[in-house]
Each structure stands twice: as structure tokens, then as C-alpha cells.
């Protein structure tokens, strides 16, 4: 996984720079998401990993699938990936691209898990507090999980803020041992 990130980084950086120049980060984000969804498909990945299929055939196939979904620059990008044998990197490139984009626009994606449904007001207050703590704009993504028993569990990147009852019980279990 970490090795893939190393390989994908130059591609993601190049794509992001180009997208910034043309002001099309949103569009690139969509097409990369589409491409990674395509490449995660089992039938496609078998073809991509098959050394017997020529680069020519592969690029025709991929371009056919993506017709209408990617623009000219996207097509060039795909051709480049095919000729460098790096097509399988697309999911990693997409992840890194999103990270660059988030960093550039100054926001973080926060996954919030709650035990009970969250009211809109509570959401906005939580977002506000998190923005203060992390020093960045926060995009909340709220899910529900009964197993937390109570409280919230927040993940923003590597950072985890565990304010759930389950977490505290686990913590207490360790302390009392």
C-alpha cells in the first residue's frame, strides 16, 4: 500500500497541478473517481493485469468504456498510464489527488460515527468545534453505529477523537487490569 503511494505520487501531483492551471479540479475529481470505480471492477482488473493483452487493445478498451466521462486531457492521461503500465495505480492516484485537493482548499473530511441520530443543529455545532480544533474547514460525514452505546467517534485523517462510551469502557478495562 505504501509502495503504491510512492509510485502514484508523481502522477497525482502532475494531475493536480494541471487541474489547478485549468481550474478543473472538480471535474478531474469526478473523472478520477469514475476511473477508479471502473478499475476496481473485477472483469476490468483481470484484463488490465493480463500481460497477453497489448497496450493498444487495452487503451482502446478503456477509452471505449470511458467515452463521454473524461475529457481530452483525461484521455491523454489514460494513454500515458497505459503506456507506462501503471493503469492499476488509478485508485491510489485518486486518493492522493483528493488529499492534494483537500489540502489546497483547506478542508478535512471528518468521519463522525454516532450512537443516536444527530440533529442538524448538533452537526453544525460539532463542525464548528472541530474547525477550531483542527484549524481547517471540516466536511462532516455522519454515520450511525449502535455499538458505540453513546457519544461520538470522530476520525479526521489519521487523527481519532474517541468520545464514545464503548471507547471509554475499553479504556477502563485496560486501566483496571
Amino acid at each position: 500500500m505504501s509502495e503504491l503511494a510512492t509510485l502514484a505520487r508523481p502522477y497525482a501531483a502532475a494531475v493536480f497541478k494541471r487541474a489547478k492551471e485549468t481550474g478543473a479540479t472538480g471535474k478531474w475529481s469526478l473523472s478520477l473517481a469514475f476511473l477508479s470505480a471502473v478499475l476496481r471492477d473485477e472483469n476490468i482488473s483481470v484484463v488490465v493485469d493480463n500481460p497477453k493483452i497489448s497496450k493498444q487493445a487495452l487503451s482502446t478498451l478503456i477509452l471505449d468504456i470511458c467515452q463521454g466521462q473524461v475529457d481530452d486531457e483525461g484521455v491523454n492521461f489514460l494513454k500515458l498510464l497505459v503506456s507506462n503500465n501503471r493503469l492499476s495505480l488509478v485508485p491510489s492516484i485518486a486518493t492522493l489527488f483528493e488529499a492534494y485537493k483537500a489540502d489546497d482548499e483547506g478542508y478535512v473530511d471528518a468521519e463522525v460515527t454516532t450512537a443516536y441520530p444527530f440533529s442538524e443543529e448538533a452537526k453544525s455545532r460539532l463542525a464548528e468545534t472541530l474547525e477550531k480544533k483542527l484549524g481547517k474547514k471540516v466536511h462532516l460525514n455522519v454515520t450511525e453505529d449502535q455499538s458505540l452505546i453513546g457519544g461520538v467517534l470522530i476520525r479526521a485523517g489519521d487523527q481519532v477523537i474517541d468520545g464514545s462510551i464503548r471507547g471509554q469502557l475499553q479504556h477502563m478495562q485496560k486501566a483496571l487490569k
Partner: protein
């Protein structure tokens, strides 16, 4: 079912009451791969070098490689239950081990957990295993002796408090024996001892523990064990653990002695960890920082001045210096001291005690090679009387070594040469000493005096040790006051000199051996 004392419901209630309920913030990562105790973790962007990482199942690891997208860590202990996809938490702490008086008399593993079945260790204090050695201003020069209780070493290669003296030799030359004797001789001196066993057989460790117990030396000793069956990561950190426990005493204005048995095995363990972490191999496949591995450890053995002790204890201890003396052990292969690790450690330490297998096999035990062994700072610390009397011993042995080759033509040699050879043979014989029988300063002084003043010249070479034993028991029974006086002051005055002389003269006239 058995209840622990800590399971009384009132106690549990109190602990629950006092439990800190604030939300816990930490950074998390995911295990990407587990190979031979090395774990690669994705994420953990804020991990520090050497930070403790928490794995599932109450297992801890140490972050050693910080890379752009991943962290390479070693698992401390068993890693069989860790699998790909497990979450890893940062703890924000460098690895810490318990320290304190309560550890004395205990056998602990490399993380400070007791393994002697004597219950939990009653100490609340912990200290990080990696610390920077005391600075230049905090230090004081070495001027007090550590008596190892071995004639040949205390007379010729004296060790001072705060010194690092290497014990080096092939396998089966009595390196551990010297270390164990040194620990036994610290009984009643107030010097606390730490014995760190790295990569040794459990049977030999059990043997050392038993011997120390038999000689009443376990009460002032901490034994840190990372045996051959434990993971390489534990063998690599064990010396730092022991050093931290020793530093606790040093920083409180007390004296401590630490023995690393042995650092060759630690270097092997570190080489294993480094190669598995894919650090580039260098000479003998050791990583580039194997010198720093030992230098940062041995630099922590030092003597610190009273001002520093006062600062460290917050003014509680005044006017006392603290010291940590280190006796690292290195095992050579076929007497080759120019291998990588031996040369490194020789250059770091303040001298070495060089043991030779041919001396050992010819019955000279401890098998100290007096020519190659040196102590660079111990001379300043040596007890006065031993310094005065031991100087002659060194000279006698040096002259003897030059002439020893001619010993078989003794009848053809001139008078003075023959005398030197005979003196040398007797002094060599006198330097032999049994294991587990350390000598006091006074006992050593009497033996050395007898050699220096030529009382041994009339004794047959094969009878020298019998003569010594008889003389010692005579001195003990007839001149206990004189002996006590020497032990108390350590000075060499005319009065003491003549006292010993008359005592030996009377002994030679009236006793047989």
C-alpha cells in the same frame, strides 16, 4: 477461582470513581504487513522516532523507521496475533520502564515486568529507556574506586566509579565469572548492581541468579533478562532498560554498577532488526549506526557532580555525587579483537580487561592478559595502598613476559635474569584466584606486599597459593585490627608497612604451609 488483592470491590469502586472520563484523542494507523516481528503501518503521520505504539491485544511496539507513507515498527514481544488491517495507536510516549529501589533483588524482563514469580513490583516511578547522557558541566572526574575483589584486576587494571571498563575475550574464558565476582564483592558497599543478560541461555541466567542468591548478593542487584528465546527487539532494548534502572540510582547521588552481558549479542539482535527493516547493511552486515548503538549506551555510564545531583533531586540530596559504572562484555571469535564490534567498543570504553583462552586453559584464572589489559582512568581512583603495592606487580609481570621464553634455559642465565623469571613465576601464580571468593583491600595488600618484598621468593612456585591461603588465615586470626585499619583507611603509611612486614616475618618463622 482466585481473587487478586486488587479485586476488592471498594478498591475497584475507588478506581472507577477516579477514572478520567475525558475524550481520548490519538492518531491511528493500519497494519499493512507483518514480517518476522517487523510491522509496517500505514498512517500514523504524527509518530515520533522511538515512540511506543499500541497494537491490539495489549501489545506494544516501537517506531523505528519513519517513512513518507508508512512507519516501520518492531513488536516488543510476541506478534503472532497481529494481522494485516489491525489498527495501531500512537501513545505519544517514548518507551518507559519502571525504576526504583523496589526492583532490587528482582529478576525482570526487558520491559521491566517481573519474571521471578515474586509478585508485582511496588513502584510507581517510570523512566524513558532512551535518554541523553549527562553533559560536560554535569560531570565529575573519576576518583573513587570500585573494588572488584579480584587481585589481578584491582592491582593492575583498577576500575573507578563512573568508569566504563570492557571485559573482552573468547567464549569460555571467564568473562561472566569476573562480572559475578564483581557483583558479589559489592555486598555491603552501598553500590547497587544491575546485571543485564542479553541473548544468553536461560539455564546460564538461572545459574547466575542462584549463585548471587547463595552469596547473598541478590539483595543489592537487579537482573534484566532478554534471553536467547526472546525477540530480537527485546534483546536490543534490554541494555537501555538496565541503564535506565541504574541511572535512577546515579541521579539520586548513589553509586551503581551495571554489567552488560554481552553487547555482541545485542549488536546481533540490532543487526537482525535493521536488516528486517531494510536498512542498508554495512561492514559485517551491521547497520551504519551500530557504533552509535553502543556509544550512546556507554556514555550514560558516568559520574555526575553534587550540583547536578542536587538539581536532579530537586534539592533533596545535597553534597553527594552519583555514579554509574559500566562493565560491558564483548565476546570475540578466535581472539580477533579487530572485528567490527570489538574495535568499536574498545574505542568507546575507558580501558579493557583482556581474557585469553590459553591462559585460562593453563590454569591462570582469572585469565587476565596483563600486557594487553589497561585502565585509562582507574589509576586516579585506585586505593592508595593497592596503587603503591600493585605497581610492582605490573612491572614484575611485564619483565617476566619478556624473559618467559628463556625460562627453560634457567640454568644458563645470569643471576639477575633468573631472579626476575622466578619472581615473575611466583607473581603469576599469586594472581590466580578462585571464583566466588573476592578479597578485601587488606587481604590484597598483604598478598601483594608479600610478593613485592620478596617473601615469596623462598616459596616453591607450586606452593604459592597454599602459602597465601595460610598467610591470609593467619592475618585474619592474629592481626584482625591491622586488617580492619587498612580496610577502613586504605592508606599506606610506614606504620602499616612495618605492621605487615613484622606479621609476615613472624608467620614465615612460625608457620608451615
Amino acid at each position: 477461582m482466585q481473587l487478586n488483592p486488587s479485586e476488592i470491590s471498594d478498591l475497584i469502586k475507588k478506581r472507577i470513581e477516579n477514572f478520567d472520563l475525558s475524550a481520548e484523542a490519538h492518531t491511528e494507523g493500519t497494519v499493512v504487513s507483518v514480517t518476522d516481528g517487523i510491522v509496517r503501518v500505514h498512517g500514523l503521520s504524527e509518530a515520533m522516532q522511538g515512540e511506543m505504539l499500541e497494537f491490539p491485544g495489549n501489545t506494544f511496539g516501537m517506531a523505528l523507521n519513519l517513512e513518507r507513507d508508512s512507519v516501520g515498527a518492531v513488536v516488543l514481544g510476541s506478534y503472532q496475533h497481529i494481522s494485516e488491517g489491525d489498527t495501531v495507536k500512537c501513545t505519544g510516549k517514548i518507551l518507559e520502564v519502571p525504576v526504583g529501589e523496589a526492583l532490587l533483588g528482582r529478576v525482570v524482563d526487558a520491559l521491566g515486568n517481573p519474571i521471578d514469580g515474586k509478585g508485582a513490583i511496588e513502584t510507581n516511578e517510570t523512566s524513558p529507556i532512551e535518554k541523553i547522557a549527562p553533559g560536560v558541566i554535569a560531570r565529575q572526574s573519576v576518583d573513587q574506586p570500585v573494588q572488584l575483589g579480584l587481585k589481578s584486576i584491582d592491582a593492575m587494571i583498577p576500575v573507578g566509579r563512573g568508569q566504563r571498563e570492557l571485559i573482552i575475550g573468547d567464549r569460555q574464558t571467564g568473562k561472566t565469572a569476573i562480572a559475578v565476582d564483581a557483583i558479589i564483592n559489592q555486598k555491603g558497599t552501598g553500590i547497587k548492581c544491575i546485571y543485564v543478560a542479553i541473548g544468553q541461555k536461560r539455564s546460564s541466567i538461572a545459574n547466575v541468579v542462584r549463585k548471587l542468591e547463595e552469596h547473598g548478593a541478590l539483595a543489592h542487584t537487579i537482573i534484566v533478562v532478554a534471553s536467547a528465546s526472546e525477540s530480537a527487539a527485546l534483546q536490543f532494548i534490554a541494555p537501555y532498560t538496565g541503564c535506565t534502572m541504574g541511572e535512577f540510582f546515579r541521579d539520586r547521588g548513589e553509586d551503581a554498577l551495571i554489567i552488560y552481558d554481552d553487547l555482541t549479542k545485542q549488536a546481533w539482535a540490532y543487526r537482525q532488526v535493521s536488516l528486517l527493516l531494510r536498512r542498508p547493511p554495512g561492514r559485517e552486515a551491521y547497520p551504519g549506526d551500530v557504533f552509535y548503538l553502543h556509544s550512546r549506551l556507554l556514555e550514560r555510564a558516568s559520574r555526575i557532580n553534587a550540583a547536578e545531583v542536587e538539581k536532579l533531586t530537586g534539592g533533596k540530596v545535597k553534597g553527594k555525587t552519583g555514579s554509574l559504572t559500566a562493565l560491558p562484555i564483548i565476546e570475540t571469535q578466535g581472539g580477533d579483537v579487530s572485528a567490527f564490534v570489538p574495535t568499536n567498543v574498545i574505542s568507546i570504553t575507558d580501558g579493557q580487561i583482556f581474557l585469553e583462552s590459553n591462559l585460562f586453559n593453563s590454569g591462570i584464572r582469572p585469565a587476565v592478559n596483563a600486557g594487553l589489559s589497561v585502565s585509562r582512568v582507574g589509576g586516579a581512583a585506585q586505593t592508595k595502598i593497592i596503587k603503591k603495592l600493585g605497581g610492582g606487580t605490573r612491572l614484575d609481570l611485564a619483565q617476566y613476559r619478556e624473559l618467559a621464553a628463556f625460562a627453560q634455559f634457567a640454568s644458563d642465565l645470569d643471576e639477575s635474569t633468573r631472579k626476575q623469571i622466578e619472581r615473575g613465576q611466583r607473581v603469576t601464580e599469586l594472581m590466580k584466584q578462585n571464583q566466588y571468593s573476592p578479597m578485601s583491600v587488606a587481604q590484597m595488600a598483604v598478598s601483594l606486599f608479600a610478593a613485592n618484598e620478596g617473601f615469596l621468593d623462598a616459596v616453591e612456585v607450586s606452593k604459592v597459593l597454599d602459602f597465601e591461603a595460610a598467610l591470609q588465615s593467619y592475618m585474619k586470626s592474629e592481626h584482625s585490627e591491622l586488617m580492619a585499619n587498612i580496610n577502613a583507611t586504605g592508606d599506606f603509611s610506614n606504620e602499616i608497612s612495618s605492621g605487615i612486614r613484622t606479621a609476615i616475618e613472624t608467620f614465615t618463622k612460625t608457620h608451615s604451609w
